[in-house]
């Protein structure tokens, strides 16, 4: 066989060394996660020496009532925050894409993206103080505060894919519906909404993942006794890492994986 390199045409896209760097990046990103997942299946109580394969740490985590309660709490927060944020973001996306440019357009963008522009720790301490004031002034406590804090930072994440979807959607569909005798509300529910729905679903998935995987707001804003999953996990640090934490982490990674796959599928399938 002839040497394949000899006949190789000059590849304009090739850059020497770029592929190894990429592989290095991917290894850096994935090796810790994969090793962590492997040790979730360890049969012994060690996170550094693999002995045998077992599901015991998954079983132990599933039976642990603290883990159960924390998971349910985190899911509740993520669900409520996602629903409110997605509705608010959908409405905001309609207002910012389906009209002509208006005065205050830039200000509206800035406000919606505000949670992304400020370091999370600042938002977290500010919200802690703000909620503290409200709680002492009204005497109201509860998980609702944490849900609202999550909603705030979920809105920009839900907003981005919905807006992108709307911007890629030709206005003539709505024009055609109007031309065919559909009044505004019918036009929205029969044409605009079905067409933008993949974007809404993508936005909802993204905000669910962002809320479910949030750490800093949880750690600082959660009230006494509101033990969400991240709070439980950071608590285990004091007792030293066990494969149980690896097992919980593996499940969390699995949830994230499913939602991010869903998000990619919805946002990249739109072009035919």
């Amino acid at each position: 066989m002839a040497n394949p390199r000899k006949n190789k045409a000059f590849n304009v896209r090739y850059m020497p060394g770029f592929t190894p760097v990429t592989m290095f990046c991917l290894i850096w990103l994935y090796a810790p996660l994969i090793i962590m997942m492997v040790y979730a299946f360890n049969s012994e109580r060690s996170v550094t020496n693999m002995h045998g394969f077992s599901f015991r740490w998954f079983e132990q985590a599933a039976k642990n009532t603290q883990v159960q309660d924390a998971t349910i709490l985190s899911l509740q927060i993520a669900l409520v925050a996602t629903i409110i944020a997605t509705i608010a973001a959908t409405m905001a996306a309609l207002a910012t894409t389906r009209t002509k440019p208006f005065k205050g357009h830039a200000a509206v963008y800035a406000i919606i993206n505000q949670p992304l522009m400020i370091p999370e720790i600042v938002t977290a301490v500010g919200t802690l103080v703000f909620f503290g004031l409200i709680k002492s002034a009204t005497g109201i406590h509860g998980i609702g505060f944490l849900m609202m804090a999550h909603t705030v930072f979920c809105i920009p994440f839900a907003y981005m894919p919905i807006r992108a979807r709307l911007e890629n959607m030709d206005l003539t569909y709505e024009h055609a519906a109007a031309d065919l005798y559909a009044p505004p509300m019918k036009r929205f529910w029969r044409v605009t909404f079905p067409l933008m729905f993949p974007g809404i679903l993508a936005g909802a998935m993204l905000s669910f993942v962002i809320s479910f995987d949030d750490v800093i707001i949880n750690l600082l804003v959660a009230g006494a006794g509101e033990t969400t999953l991240p709070i439980y996990m950071i608590g285990t640090l004091r007792r030293g890492l066990t494969p149980e934490v690896n097992a919980i982490s593996t499940v969390l990674l699995g949830v994230t994986f499913i939602f991010v796959v869903g998000f990619f599928f919805l946002t990249t399938n739109k072009k035919k």
Binding site: V21, T22, V47
Partner: protein, 316 residues
């Protein structure tokens, strides 16, 4: 003519076109603010109010247990980088604070540069894949970013511990004779930050490289440029907006990093985020915590202004 029934409306008040236009505009404005109101109310009410409170608190006196006393003072702003000697009440530099701030800015800049050096080839690699494969590679980069930060930091901790995988592998290979001390060092925090924020660099870089017209690259080679010259003279200028966006996106969360330094720094190698959290926790100095928060915000604002300036200059 079945459609004709709709004309019945035409016999009402005969508006002129201009009046109808004005009515449409009015309706549009009303709709717009109705649609915007939930998001605006939530973000302004729960997202922006805390910032206003932080600004206010930074000018107040420290409360006895926690909280604040309603008296105006610039003390917290002074305490950012100075401290009073407990014995003779003289003013001196607060070396602890200064070193934490410098470390944070230094670590954030280091993270930015390292993720750029690693992220640029990665984004280029993804751009040059066949079109059907690009989303797969992009997904591989994005997935870790959306994963739980705590999970990711734990996994990095397992790598870096004295009996962690890195030491085990290096000992096994005989590269080192005794475990290196990695965990709870600045190096550990730096490795963790790059690990955490690398995807945030690759994504905007890819977004801007995807638009790169490879005919320009071909033209470059056609005009006798070497690979390096094409990279420097053709590719880099075209993706400059992506580079700046990536740097900003990495710098902002990196300077405010809290979890990474807390877990991998082991309470010794604090960053500004930890310092802030401590003021609202064990130290119970809310005004100081507020002042430090605002200091960090100012640093972030400067970065953002640089970004906006640059992107405006690109448009001209």
């Amino acid at each position: 003519m079945s459609a004709e029934t709709t004309l019945a409306h035409a016999h009402g008040a005969p508006l002129t076109g201009a009046e109808a236009e004005a009515a449409t505009v009015k309706r549009e404005v009303r709709n717009r603010w109705f649609l915007l109101s939930p998001a605006m109310l939530i973000i302004c009410g729960i997202g922006i109010m805390p910032l206003a409170i932080i600004i206010g608190y930074s000018f107040m006196e420290q409360g006895n247990y926690a909280g604040v006393k309603w008296e105006f003072t610039l003390e917290s702003w002074m305490n950012l980088i100075t401290e009073r000697d407990i014995f003779d009440d003289t003013l001196g530099w607060n070396h602890a604070h200064i070193s934490i701030m410098l470390r944070s800015i230094g670590l954030a800049l280091m993270t930015m540069v390292t993720t750029l050096i690693m992220g640029f080839p990665t984004a280029y690699f993804i751009t040059t894949r066949p079109e059907g494969q690009r989303n797969f590679w992009l997904f591989l980069i994005a997935l870790p970013f959306f994963s739980n930060l705590l999970v990711r930091t734990f996994s990095m901790m397992l790598m870096l511990r004295d009996d962690g995988y890195i030491n085990n592998v290096l000992l096994f290979l005989g590269v080192i004779d005794e475990p290196m001390i990695l965990i709870y060092t600045n190096t550990a925090v730096a490795i963790g930050l790059v690990f955490t924020y690398l995807p945030l660099m690759v994504m905007p870089l890819y977004a801007s490289m995807e638009k790169l017209n490879f005919n320009l690259v071909e033209a470059g080679y056609d005009l006798y440029a070497s690979r390096f010259q094409v990279l420097k003279r053709v590719i880099l200028p075209s993706v400059k907006p992506g580079i700046i966006a990536g740097c900003i996106l990495v710098f902002i969360p990196a300077i405010g990093a809290y979890v990474t330094a807390k877990i991998l720094g082991g309470g010794k190698n604090l960053m500004i985020g930890n310092l802030i959290a401590n003021q609202f926790g064990t130290s119970r100095d809310w005004p100081l915590g507020s002042a430090i928060s605002l200091f960090m915000m100012i640093v972030v604002m400067i970065a953002l202004i640089v970004y906006v300036r640059n992107s405006l200059a690109e448009q001209d």
